[in-house]
């Protein structure tokens, strides 16, 4: 409630200057909402900790014994934690919208800022920015773990493994791409949350989208369907950004794959935005 009052005051002060709340006011309001409750901070901490910890565990569990040919992509292995981190990112993004619906706060918000798409855009920007920041820390931690652990586990340059470090072009692409991946997952979740409005249903839908396609891909043995699933489903296509070996055999190029995820996120945001405008809050 106090945040709502603050948002009002802010709007009130801005009014004489800009004739109604502008993007900056909306951003400020959303940032205040996110900053002043403890949930998002814990979730962001969870993103960083889970991603880095799972990545480090994956590094620690993988050895390449001498004399064996190990078909392992070290960069991808070092970024395994993204698989977990994305679930926490999804919670964060879903709650940014759904918490307002569950408490009725959304009506206050829309009363203060009747331009709903402005509020929506501000939420998207704020969520994307905080996820980018947390994602960068998480990915840096994962890369650092891979850099420190993998060489002692047999993944050395002398055996043809490229270092997991940002000086190696493809590894840099995998790392930055993974940060962008998390941000796109956040936007996808935000769009679905705006569409569904209930946090339980929204998180269920997001988790289904994130994990169901890879599961189906694991079961399906038809090469044509495998190819389609690898190219067009959000997680499989999006995570090709992490590939640094066997680039010729990818179903879709790394940036192309991230583009597919961006299309999913864009479509979800668009659908969510349209419903936000049309429906009663």
């Amino acid at each position: 409630m106090s945040t709502a009052v603050q948002a009002r005051q802010k709007t009130g002060r801005a009014e004489p200057r800009t004739k109604g709340a502008g993007m900056l006011d909306a951003l400020h309001a959303e940032w205040t909402k996110l900053r002043t409750v403890s949930g998002p901070a814990w979730l962001l901490l969870g993103v960083v900790a889970l991603t880095a910890a799972v990545s480090a565990a994956a590094d620690g569990a993988t050895h390449c014994p001498a004399g064996m040919n190990c078909p392992v992509d070290p960069a991808k292995l070092s970024l395994t934690g993204i698989q977990f981190g994305q679930a926490v990112v999804a919670i964060l993004a879903v709650l940014v919208i759904c918490n307002e619906y569950s408490t009725g706060m959304i009506r206050t918000t829309f009363t203060a800022m009747p331009r709903r798409l402005l509020v929506y855009a501000a939420k998207a920007v704020i969520v994307a920015v905080v996820v980018l920041a947390a994602g960068a820390v998480a990915v840096l931690g994962s890369v650092l773990a891979g850099h420190l652990i993998l060489p002692s586990h047999g993944f050395t340059a002398s055996r043809g493994f490229h270092p997991v470090w940002l000086s190696y072009g493809p590894a840099l692409r995998a790392a930055t791409g993974s940060v962008l991946y998390l941000a796109l997952i956040a936007l996808l979740s935000l769009g679905i949350a705006a569409l569904v409005r209930d946090s339980a249903v929204a998180i269920g839908a997001v988790l289904a989208i994130l994990y169901l396609f890879p599961i189906i891909l694991a079961f399906v043995t038809d090469p044509a369907w495998q190819h389609r699933l690898e190219r067009w489903t959000p997680t499989n296509a999006g995570l090709t950004i992490q590939a640094t070996t066997g680039l010729r055999n990818l179903a879709i190029s790394p940036w192309g794959g991230l583009g597919v995820l961006a299309i999913w996120a864009g479509a979800a945001l668009l659908a969510g935005g349209m419903m936000l405008r049309v429906r009663n809050a």
């Binding site: 040919n69 292995l77 698989q83 919670i91 339980a200 269920g204 189906i216 399906v220 090469p223």
Partner: protein, 552 residues
């Protein structure tokens, strides 16, 4: 406020609390559950999606078989002859067999002095042409050589055998699924192994010995209806060499054939030193591999290959390739095999939907403040938790049972129509898989209820319940981790419960790959399910503790 209503509720309920307390509590929770339209729709959606995704996965089994006959073929046309064992299971039955007829009761005894093998040299890179025989020395753990008494020379017929193996010591095996350990250790000239099989009616008894003097009985098996005269003799075989590539986003496996050579002497049949004529039959194309040409599937077992059986002095040398074992799904199988649980892939989406409904069933009460009314009416908070868990679990079970039954009933014929060998299982196993899937969803619902009570936030509870079941499965199925780590994930996390869907057991005499997407889990079905139940029970206990301690 609540302090006023609690004693009143207690007083009102006091008299009949002991008689109908829990029954009426169950009824009130059931009323809550069925009157929220969204939850009922959620359960129906769970059932429909389970069936649809299951059918998609069942229809998505299609391994091309164009290479087998030159022209591309598809569907049932490309299936080779599929032997079935006496127990009805699909089996591999390919080995090189040097035999002579054994009439009536009798025995066969040999000494194995040498056992060696070689396998396709898979380096992860395509074989280079003109590289000569692309083979590396080495036995497979289940390369086999020894003596066998077999019903006839047809694939899939009954048998009993004593054998030395590449990595599992002396074994007695029968009818593809039976396996008993004998002497440990491997064979060498200095440490040979003596093997003996004795027939008495339908009973075949196996013995082993390290010196030919001191014999130990390994086991006795009954081969019902064995004819009076049966082929008996020496055999050698060696299963394919499989390498699983670990690449994220889809594990693939490559491999190649292998062959094993056993050297036998002191061969006696029915007490007579064997000077009689030995016939050499490569049962199921199980002769030695041809020495040239790149490594590839089938086709290598050429009739053009070198003779796999030779005799010099008192020593017999026999070389064979293949296996005498049940067919298991997954890499290494020479057949396009699939399992009945392939059509239950949709249980994952059903699980997500059911977990959403179950978590909401508890957290919604917190959101609306209804929890205070509920707890005022039933001050024993543990009972409320139990009633909710029971109602949601039962609803999930019924939903899952309907969905799994339909998915298997429709999906399995669909798989078979795609030219797949759907590995047959006994009716009881099929029931366990279907009912187990329903039970899996029920326990997942209880787990979600408990997490909902602990966390009081639906989003967090749902994510935790889904991720702990789905992600260990996914990371193992995609071979993100080395298989040892993946196996531990599937032993310790709630995902272990998925093992209840495994229809083909992990036979000890087959090199099993832990590949949950192909029906291979590290724990036996009910043990894995017990792990999930333990997680649900632990979450319930924590929920019970917190529910009593915390203010509602």
């Amino acid at each position: 406020m609540t302090t006023v209503s609690v004693p009143r509720a207690e007083a009102a309920a006091g008299a009949d609390a002991r008689r109908s307390g829990f029954g009426s509590l169950l009824r009130s929770e059931w009323t809550k559950f069925r009157t929220v339209r969204g939850w009922v729709i959620g359960m129906i959606v769970a059932a429909i999606l389970t069936v649809l995704v299951g059918l998609f996965a069942a229809g998505g089994v299609n391994i091309g078989c164009g290479s087998s006959g030159g022209a591309a073929k598809s569907g049932k046309a490309c299936l080779p002859y599929i032997p079935h064992g006496p127990g009805g299971e699909v089996v591999t039955d390919s080995f090189n067999f040097a035999h002579q007829p054994l009439t009536g009761n009798g025995s066969i005894t040999v000494r194995v002095t040498s056992f060696r093998g070689e396998h396709a040299n898979i380096t992860g890179h395509p074989a280079q042409a003109g590289n000569g025989p692309n083979m590396a020395p080495g036995l497979m753990p289940w390369s086999k050589a020894g003596i066998i008494i077999k019903e006839n020379l047809h694939q899939g017929s009954a048998y009993a055998a004593m054998m030395v193996t590449g990595g599992n010591g002396v074994r007695m095996q029968d009818n593809y699924t039976g396996d008993t350990a004998g002497l440990p250790g491997s064979v060498s000239a200095a440490g040979p192994r003596w093997l003996r099989l004795t027939r008495s009616g339908d009973a075949i008894t196996g013995y082993d010995s390290a010196d030919g003097t001191h014999w130990a009985k390994v086991g006795t098996v009954q081969l019902a209806g064995l004819p009076a005269t049966v082929p008996a003799g020496m055999f050698a075989t060696s299963p394919s060499y499989v390498v699983t590539q670990t690449s994220f986003g889809g594990g693939s496996s490559s491999g190649g054939p292998s062959q094993a050579t056993g050297v036998f002497d002191h061969v006696t049949v029915s007490g007579n030193p064997a000077g009689g004529t030995w016939s050499d039959t490569p049962v199921g194309g199980g002769g030695p591999l041809s020495q040239s040409g790149p490594a590839g599937p089938a086709g290598l077992r050429g009739a053009s290959g070198p003779a796999g059986f030779s005799h010099a002095g008192g020593a017999y040398t026999l070389t064979g390739s293949g296996d005498i074992a049940p067919v298991t799904p997954g890499p290494g199988s020479s057949l396009p095999t699939t399992t009945i649980e392939q059509s239950l892939t949709g249980a994952f989406i059903g699980l997500i939907a059911i977990v959403v409904v179950a978590a909401m069933f508890f957290t919604a009460e917190y959101r609306r403040g209804l929890i205070r009314t509920t707890l005022a009416a039933t001050p024993q908070r543990g009972r409320v938790l139990a009633a909710k868990a029971l109602v949601a679990g039962a609803a999930a079970f019924v939903t899952g049972l309907v969905a799994a039954t339909v998915a298997v009933a429709v999906g399995v014929p669909l798989e078979a129509g795609k030219g797949q060998v759907v590995l047959p299982v006994p009716a009881l196993t099929e029931i366990r898989v279907v009912v187990g899937t329903a039970a899996l969803l029920a326990v997942a619902a209880v787990f979600a209820i408990a997490l909902g009570a602990v966390l009081r936030r639906s989003a967090a509870a749902i994510t935790l319940a889904v991720v702990t079941v789905v992600l260990p499965f996914l990371l193992t199925a995609l071979h993100v981790f080395p298989s040892g780590v993946g196996a531990w994930l599937l032993r310790l996390t709630p995902a272990a419960g998925l093992a209840i869907e495994q229809s083909i057991p992990n036979y000890p005499q087959v090199t099993n790959v832990i590949d949950p997407a192909r029906g291979g889990y590290p724990l036996p079905p009910f043990a894995g399910f017990a792990v999930l139940c333990a997680w649900a029970a632990a979450a319930l206990a924590l929920a019970f503790f917190l529910l009593r301690r915390r203010d509602a």
